[in-house]
Amino acid sequence: MLSRVVLSATATAAPSLKNAAFLGPGVLQATRTFHTGQPHLAPVPPLPEYGGKVRHGLIPEEFFQYLYPKTGVTGPYVLGTGLILYALSKEIYVITGETITGLAVIGLYIFGIKKFGPSVAAFADKLNEQKLARLEEAKQASIKQIQDAVDMEKAQQALVQKRHYLFDVQRNNIALAMEVTYRERLHRVYKEVKNRLDYQISVQNMMRRKEQEHMINWVEKHVVQSISAQQEKETIAKCIADLKLLAKKAQAQPVM
């Protein structure tokens, strides 16, 4: 970036001198290259999973391998014994009360490690495993959630394809409803018209009946009026005579 700044500064300072030979500092900085090597810290080299092997918990295995060509298997042990005896006999290491206490402490530590070591190691492994299991479960839950979302999306898309069934059913329903309404209205209209016509008919019937009655009453009245007293007497006398005659006939008949 600095080289760009220098180049642009030189260009603005001397716009007429666009010659490459005059842009000394800019050229020098442009030719110096930065950041072309590989970065050293990445990728991080993998760490070994287990530590180096030790024998008796203290001495690395490489020491025994180092002495093996010259002194064989028992070499390091002889060396160790010799050193200890040398220190004791020359009183480089003095046996005091502290020695007894030290031996007791170290004996107790070795006993404790031998007895409780595996269970503690298993506990530590379980701790790590639990941590990993929790994270793994979170990851699986997230994956499952996304998978469920994808499946639901696919189902929704499939449903979209079958939408026309729904529309057909709805269309049919609406057509049926409209048909029913139309027929109902038609029927109502028919009933209304029939009602009006019935009214007219009943009015006519009533008028005719009234006229008939009126005529009958008028005829009867006039007939009754027209029967004068004289005709009435003559009719009654004739009826009596006819009745007497009929009675005689009736009397005569059963005798026969």
């Binding site: 005091t96 009360g97 206490t101 402490v105």
Partner: protein, 226 residues
Amino acid sequence: MNQNLFTSFNVPVILGIPLVVLIILFPITLIMPSNKLINNRLSSLQQWLVQLTLKQMMMVHTNKGRTWSLMLLALISFIALNNLLGLTPYAFTPTTQLSMNLGMAIPLWAATVFMGLRFKTKASLAHFLPQGTPVPLIPMLIIIETISLFIQPMALAVRLTANITAGHLLMHLLGDTALTLMSIYMSSSTITIIIIILLITLELGVALIQAYVFTLLVSLYLHDNS
């Protein structure tokens, strides 16, 4: 090597250079913080222990008291590791020196007292008078409570010093006894060695318990005054 019984409590100096600084700084090298998710077994166990202790200790405190978590956790780790490392043969235990324990106890106790006086003046002064005391006893009780307050740092320091020193002394004595008895009575020497083993077991317990007690009491003072 050891002229008398108390040479193991001399502060180690080589050619005038005090080694005690290195000895005090050593335990911190045993705690390995790492930024990896899965560590080796030792680091996992340390992390689990730290979590357990911290949760147990700081549950009772308010938010203000919990700002002391780092201090208290460092305190208990320091004391516990120093005590445990002092049990190895020929080791020097810094916590046997009264100077160091006073240096730990007085500033912490004073900090809790001053915090209480500054933020909750009335409540911290009210601690001098327990509830429900009969009226005639009040002056005497206040004097007694004041004395008890000022004895707290001394008690903290001297408790730790005395316990650890006593344990170490007893172990040295018994070791010398076992050595001397070995040339006279082999069997009583064996019995003495068994006693030493039992004592070491006790010492391990005492080492951890003392660390715990120290920290617990500081935490208690903090709780009263936070």
